[in-house]
């Protein structure tokens, strides 16, 4: 085997080392050292990834698979190892994860400076990187599942980072449990794969699938749907998206890293990774596409009315992930990954900028109390503007290229594709609208800050700053870098990107008619502009915000997020609790389990009591018992012989005399 000296295992292991150092010793180390540890290991990972990328660029043949990886789970014929593999898809993901990840680490040093669990925060963050890199580097499904569950854990820990805040704990728990539902699907898919292929290695499964004697469509569809369930959990798609908005309880950089740029895209990555399976099942693909489109639209509508700046971004993330699913569903995996990448840039930027705003406003998250920050926070403003333009899909920002690729791919998929395209386009309109609404409410107009907010930033900010302030440069640097990427990240171009990924994701979506494509692009930009215009007309001046009040009915529906959370509680959580408490707890536990024991004990006790009653204490009764017993015994001994009863007399034929 050619060993290109990529040091793949080190990519996840370095952050793990950072986690261990900070996690075990962090509480006793000075803050500077904690920061240094927290930054050096991700940076080193990034360096390794970058080196790998350079080697690829200079001609290293992909994929690189580690064949002599140590075994993990071995049982009979089943052999699952810690095998890592690097291919184009992984490389893209790694670049995003370690690159954006490092930037966010850097940002966090500033953002979290005054927090109590500083060391804990960075330990968790490094842990997340470990699992996330494992997820994308894994050469088999089970190792991927390790990362999959692991990032869920890191997400849980980080959402619940503010341990004294009950809502944070609730949100963390919700995230983990809902993710578990998805993981359940993933797990079932793994079992199906294992049962049908006898292996979990990507390469071997792909080889199996390539043979003509591949499995029947039904099984494949089942596997794909199970995988999809996993993906919807992690990537916050319908029906399992509900955890992501709540996940905003975590520190904002976490939202940027985990709940925008990296972890939530794992579902997309997984579908792209398993595309060989999905390609064999049109049904599954259709489901993916529909789920993606529906989620994109649905989340965008909700995002329109949110007032919490982070929640807007959260729903926006869900919506954008929907785009990626849509892309996967129409077979445009490379477009999905492309959008994943650009989204990572601009959504991370959005979050970080939002974090900067929140930081600047001492923890205020409600957009109704923002406004006019353009002057106080110029760097934040300009970077945010770049991101807003990018997400809205204005040319030549990154979002334009990727979203365009997705819509075009959808458009080319026949009638159903047209419908999906329409939904996507409407969603683009909504996206543009709610992003600019956010932009206007935050930066334009007059300041509506009232102070007293200490939503996220805790007790350190009690000295109320009357004015918002720009964040320190350690936070702004990542913003600037990401802004640059948001602007220029898409210039790579879909064709080149698709060609690069082609060895992994199969044929690039065959370019359609150039005219049509151009038409579509123009249309998309127009739609985005329309969104901007609507937002401008409604929110440019603060006093006109009342205009939306006329639509009170729909607004209420949207503000309550269609009551989906309530629906879940009423249909899933409550019934389970009810069954557990009353059916199982009372009938099962009290009546059957306890009751049967009590019944037996009671019967024995009653018999005992009854026998005890014989013991009346009266001598004559005792004599009666003895006499009766003697009589019974004599009958037992003699009756057979005296009466000549058949069998008994025969046994004692001797006794007939």
């Amino acid at each position: 085997m050619n060993d290109p000296m990529l040091f793949l295992p080190l990519i996840p292991l370095l952050p793990l080392l950072g986690f261990l150092l900070n996690g075990v010793l962090g509480s006793r180390l000075p803050k500077a050292l904690v920061s240094a540890i927290a930054l050096i290991f991700p940076l080193a990972s990034f360096a390794l990834v970058a080196r790998a990328a350079w080697m690829v660029h200079t001609g290293l043949a992909l994929p690189v698979v580690e064949h002599d990886a140590p075994a993990w789970i071995v049982s009979g014929a089943m052999h699952i190892g810690f095998g890592l593999a690097l291919d184009q898809l992984t490389l893209v993901m790694l670049l995003v994860i370690t690159g954006v990840g490092f930037l966010i680490h850097l940002y966090s040093v500033g953002y979290m400076e005054h927090e109590a669990g500083y060391w804990r925060y960075f330990a968790y963050l490094n842990l997340f990187l470990f699992f996330m890199t494992t997820l994308v580097l894994a050469a088999n499904f089970l190792l991927m599942f390790v990362g999959w569950e692991g990032v869920g854990l890191a997400s849980y820990l980080l959402i619940g980072f503010y341990i004294d805040r009950k809502s944070a704990g609730d949100a963390g728990k919700k995230a983990f449990v809902v993710n578990r539902v998805g993981d359940f699907g993933f797990l079932i898919a793994i079992f199906l794969l294992l049962a049908n292929f006898g292996t979990l290695n990507f390469s071997e499964i792909a080889a199996h699938l390539a043979t003509p004697a591949a499995l029947s469509g039904g099984t494949i569809t089942l596997i794909c749907l199970c995988l999809l369930l996993g993906a919807t959990g992690k990537s916050a798609q319908i029906p399992l998206y509900i955890w992501l908005p709540d996940a905003m309880e975590g520190p904002t950089p976490v939202s940027a890293l985990i709940h925008a740029a990296t972890m939530v895209t794992a579902g997309v990555y997984m579908i792209a990774r398993a595309h060989a399976l999905f390609d064999l099942s049109p049904t599954a693909l259709m489901v993916v596409a529909v789920i993606g489109a529906a989620t994109a639209f649905f989340a965008a509508t909700v995002a329109m009315v949110q007032t919490d700046i982070k929640r807007v971004l959260a729903y926006s993330t869900i919506s954008q992930l929907g785009y990626m699913f849509l892309a996967c569903g129409v077979g445009a995996y490379s477009a999905a990954v492309f959008h994943l990448m650009t989204h990572a840039f601009f959504k991370a930027l959005l979050f970080l900028a939002a974090g900067s705003v929140i930081h600047g406003l001492s923890g205020e998250q409600d957009m109704r109390r923002m406004g006019g920050l353009r002057k106080e926070m110029p760097v934040t403003f300009w970077t945010m503007t770049a991101a807003v333009l990018a997400i809205s899909g204005f040319f030549p920002f990154a979002g334009f290229f990727s979203k365009d690729a997705i819509l075009a791919a959808a458009f080319e998929q026949g009638a159903a594709g047209k419908a999906l395209w329409t939904v996507g386009l409407i969603t683009a309109l909504l996206t543009s609208f709610y992003m600019f609404r956010l932009w206007y409410m935050t930066f334009m107009g007059q300041s509506r800050a009232r102070g007293h907010a200490q939503h996220e930033h805790g007790h350190e900010h009690d000295h109320k700053q009357a004015h918002a302030h720009e964040s320190p440069w350690i936070m702004l640097t990542p913003l600037v870098i990401l802004a640059a990427l948001s602007v220029g990240g898409g210039w790579v171009g879909m064709e080149r990107f698709g060609a690069f990924l082609a060895p992994v994701t199969g044929k690039a979506a065959n370019a359609g008619d150039a005219h049509v494509e151009l038409m579509l692009s123009v249309l998309a930009v127009l739609v985005a502009a329309t969104g901007w215009f609507v937002a401008h007309s409604l929110y440019a001046r603060s006093e006109s915000r009342g205009a939306t009040e006329s639509l009170a009915g729909p607004r209420r529906v949207l503000e309550n997020k269609y009551w989906i959370d309530e629906l879940y509680i009423a249909c899933v959580v409550r019934p389970i609790e009810w069954i557990a408490r009353y059916v199982l707890g009372w009938i099962g536990e009290l009546v059957l389990v306890r009751g049967s024991a009590w019944l037996l004990a009671g019967i024995a006790g009653l018999c005992g009591e009854w026998l005890r009653r014989w013991q009346s204490g009266n001598l004559r009764s005792y004599a009666a018992w003895l006499a009766a017993a003697a009589a019974v015994l004599l009958i037992f001994v003699l009756a057979g012989t005296l009466l000549g009863v058949g069998g008994f007399a025969q046994t004692l034929s001797w006794a007939v005399r």
């Binding site: 024995a604 003895l626 001994v637």
Partner: protein, 490 residues
């Protein structure tokens, strides 16, 4: 030819000691302490024990014109009975109320009665003539009747003695009637002659009747249900040290008699008495255990438990070959060890005047007197039948025998019963292990003397040895069974 006297040497020793104690008691000053008499009796019983052991060197044989038979079988039970009486005497030395107390006891007579009683019990195991059986039985019975009523002041004592006496005589009348019938059927009362004459008996129906009537008498003595009614009342009323004796030694003797009757006199009736034993065993276990379940008075509870143990013992009779005899022998030994032990501790902890009588009264014993409490736990564990104690092995062996005889269902009933039994034994055990409520009596042992210590020590040691290294006793029981089989030719 061994002189006849050697065949009854232990009995002779015991009689001499009994007379000695009696005479000494009578000749001592009225106010002087009678405690030394206890030691005299103890030493005497020990001598009898030695004599019994020495008897095992004699060749098996009969004496006194074929009325007594000494062999490994009789030696086994002699040793066992002497051991029990020895422990009971040691126990009594310390737990009987002191001579100067208002409730003065006639300690001298007490010890003499114990020793004389032992004569009867010992003889019962070696008698091969029904007349001797009858008289030996009466000796052992009368001495226990009297001992049961020793606490005259309480009102319970005489009542216990009265019930025991009247019901006992009632049962003896049945036994006697049975002997008359067997005499009527065969014209003899000598065990081996009866056995040989039985097939040619004048009337076989009389043989059956005789068997039935004798069983009434013997099953009463072993307190098997439904002939058990006397047991709880008598155990409750009798002084605890006496219960230690009478719940074991006369029972051991009665079981030896039962073996003698079933295998020596009526082997022919095996198809009849095997199902009888099956039923009686099942009924005894069930009745004893269920009734004990709701019992709060510890002595009554243990009385019911002794009924259940009689059932476990009787289960062994459903086995085949000589196994049942060995199993019964072993069981009686183990049962004696643990039962004497627990009653010894009950009398040491609860006191002669029974300050503690109910289960809850024993709360916290483990804390106020750890050693006594711990040993009580040991005996209770053995009574439950937890492995590595004598109680387990006894039960195990008995049930193995029954199982080999094909009485699988009986074994199932028996073991389920021992599950029920665990409930009440454990209730007492856990009560002992539970810290006492703050207001409860926290006093420790009423009397810790050399006697009690020795008694409990012997019992505990025996319980453990029988559980962990039962080999020797098992061998002895086996050779007893073998020699019994040789004598009675089956």
């Amino acid at each position: 030819m061994t002189p006849d006297i050697f065949r009854i040497f232990p009995e002779v020793v015991l009689t001499v000691v009994g007379v000695l104690v009696m005479v000494a008691d009578a000749s001592m000053a009225p106010k002087s302490s009678r405690r030394p008499l206890g030691w005299v009796a103890a030493v005497g019983v020990m001598a009898a024990l030695a004599a019994s052991l020495w008897q095992s060197t004699l060749p098996a044989g009969t004496a006194f014109f074929g009325t007594v038979q000494t062999d490994a079988f009789s030696t086994f039970f002699h040793v066992l009975i002497c051991g029990i009486v020895l422990v009971a005497i040691l126990l009594s030395i310390d737990t009987l109320p002191p001579d100067k107390s208002p409730a003065q006891h006639h300690v001298g007579e007490y010890f003499a009665l114990m020793v004389f009683g032992a004569v009867g019990m010992c003889l019962l195991t070696s008698a091969v003539e029904l007349l001797v059986v009858f008289i030996a039985l009466e000796i052992s019975s009368i001495s226990t009747y009297v001992l049961a009523g020793y606490r005259k002041q309480t009102g319970k004592g005489p009542e216990a003695a009265m019930k025991y006496f009247l019901l006992g005589s009632f049962a003896t009348a049945f036994l006697l009637y049975g002997i008359a019938m067997v005499f009527g059927a065969t014209g003899t009362t000598e065990v081996r002659e009866i056995a040989t004459l039985l097939p040619a008996a004048r009337s076989h129906v009389f043989v059956l009747l005789a068997f039935g009537l004798m069983m009434v008498g013997v099953l009463f003595k072993v307190s098997a249900a439904p002939f058990h009614v006397w047991t709880p009342d008598v155990y409750e009323g009798a002084p605890t040290p006496v219960v230690a004796l009478m719940s074991t030694a006369p029972k051991v003797a009665a079981f030896a008699l039962l073996i003698r009757l079933l295998y020596g006199v009526f082997p022919l009736l095996h198809p009849l008495w095997m199902p009888l034993m099956w039923v009686v065993a099942a009924v005894s276990m069930t009745v004893g255990n269920l009734a004990a379940l709701r019992q709060h008075n510890v002595k009554r509870m243990l009385a019911y438990s002794s009924i259940a143990h009689a059932g476990y013992l009787l289960a062994a009779f459903t086995g085949s070959g000589t196994e049942p005899i060995a199993a019964v022998g072993f069981y009686t030994a183990a049962y004696a060890a643990m039962n004497v032990g627990i009653f010894a501790l009950l009398s040491a902890v609860g006191g002669y005047d029974e300050r503690r009588s109910t289960v809850t009264d024993y709360r916290g014993v483990l804390y106020s007197s750890p050693l006594a409490g711990g040993l009580m736990l040991l005996f209770l564990i053995s009574l439950i039948g937890i492995p590595f104690t004598g109680g387990f092995f006894a039960k195990f062996y008995s049930f193995t025998t029954a199982m080999q005889g094909g009485a699988g269902w009986l074994v199932l009933i028996g073991l389920l019963n021992s599950g029920i039994a665990a409930a009440y034994y454990l209730r007492l055990a856990l009560s002992i292990a539970q810290p006492a409520a703050s207001s409860a009596k926290a006093e420790g042992l009423s009397s810790v003397g050399v006697g009690v210590t020795l008694a409990v020590g012997i019992a505990a040691l025996a319980t453990l040895v029988l559980g962990i290294l039962p080999g020797h006793v098992l061998d002895a029981a086996h050779s007893a069974a073998q020699s019994f089989a040789a004598v009675h030719g089956f």
